[in-house]
Symmetry: C2
Subunit: 193 residues, 2 copies
């Protein structure tokens, strides 16, 4: 078989099941919260076998990434091509500040899913994480920061990790504004003196 005609090389029934599974997963999260998102339940609600679910998304973090895909793409588009201060056009420092603010804001809405997506040792290697670090590194370079920019990008993105932000908000009871101020302060420390 040559698979020339297919839209994405995905068979029609497979595409339908992908849609069913994503809808079921989204519904479960919306109705019962992310902690009730089990692979068995998703498959059951979608009226589909478990094997199908794992074939489509690989594993649970794969499914969660697929759920976050749309908002992730929006976010990426915003900081790469959108209007300033997040997108190009503003000063690098302002873009850095805006990037953190947007990340923290996003965490307010999708924190639990974001945290779940960042579990496991391979999370740091995921394309979206790499892209964010690359972006941070680029902005640092433009801002005139010197030194090991790759490590600097890791350090900055560590602060924006959903697990850390949730801990600070829920365990340490830090208000939103303090986290933002902390980000601004951190960015400041990375600027050339």
């Amino acid at each position: 078989m040559l698979r020339l005609s297919g839209n994405d090389g995905e068979r029609a029934d497979a595409a339908r099941n992908r849609r069913l599974l994503l809808e079921a997963a989204a519904r479960i999260v919306e109705l019962y919260g992310p902690e009730k998102l089990t692979m068995d339940e998703v498959a059951r609600h979608a009226g589909v076998g478990k094997g199908t679910l794992f074939r489509r998304f690989g594993n649970k973090t794969g499914l969660i990434h697929a759920l976050l895909d749309q908002s992730g793409r929006d976010f990426q588009a915003a900081f790469m091509f959108g209007p300033p201060p997040l997108g190009p056009g503003a000063a690098p420092v302002d873009r850095l500040r805006a990037f953190g603010e947007a990340s923290i804001r996003r965490c307010d809405f999708q924190g639990q899913l974001l945290r779940a997506a960042q579990e496991g040792p391979e999370a740091l290697s995921h394309p979206t994480q790499r892209l964010a670090r690359q972006h941070l590194g680029l902005l640092l370079r433009e801002a005139g920061t010197t030194g090991d920019l790759e490590l600097a990008a890791y350090e900055l993105s560590a602060y924006l990790n959903a697990g850390l932000l949730i801990h600070l908000q829920e365990e340490r009871r830090m208000p939103h504004e303090r986290l933002i101020a902390g980000w601004h302060e951190l960015v400041e420390r990375f600027l050339p003196r």
Copy 2:
């Protein structure tokens, strides 16, 4: 029963089983590596029921913390009471540098266990983590750093997270020296200008 005489309020058989379980766990890690450390196997090797294992250590991260306890205590004693530059007596900046170096060195030996111990949402609340952050915050204050020192301590300790260090070493192939240099650079950024 008053439980006055007992050494630690732990019954003799319980103490014996704790020892057996820790020895079994240590042997499994040594012989087969941390990824083979399953609760069933530990209980089986110790010749003890699974319920006993969970009663003693609560959960898997509890067992791992118990395994790391000795080296953890040594480390804590070293940076709180030991000789400079890690312990008191040296300049705060030098103590900060030494703290990171010691953490990175420790990660070289026990990285996999340390990473496993830091999984889960409650890891950041664990006493050893809190103590490390408190120590970092104190050194920053002594070094004259201004701003939100609590957040600053979180940011510094994020760099020393075993999961991140292992990722940088194994995935990004960064040599030991680069990680050390990165730590020194990071500390530098937190010093008053």
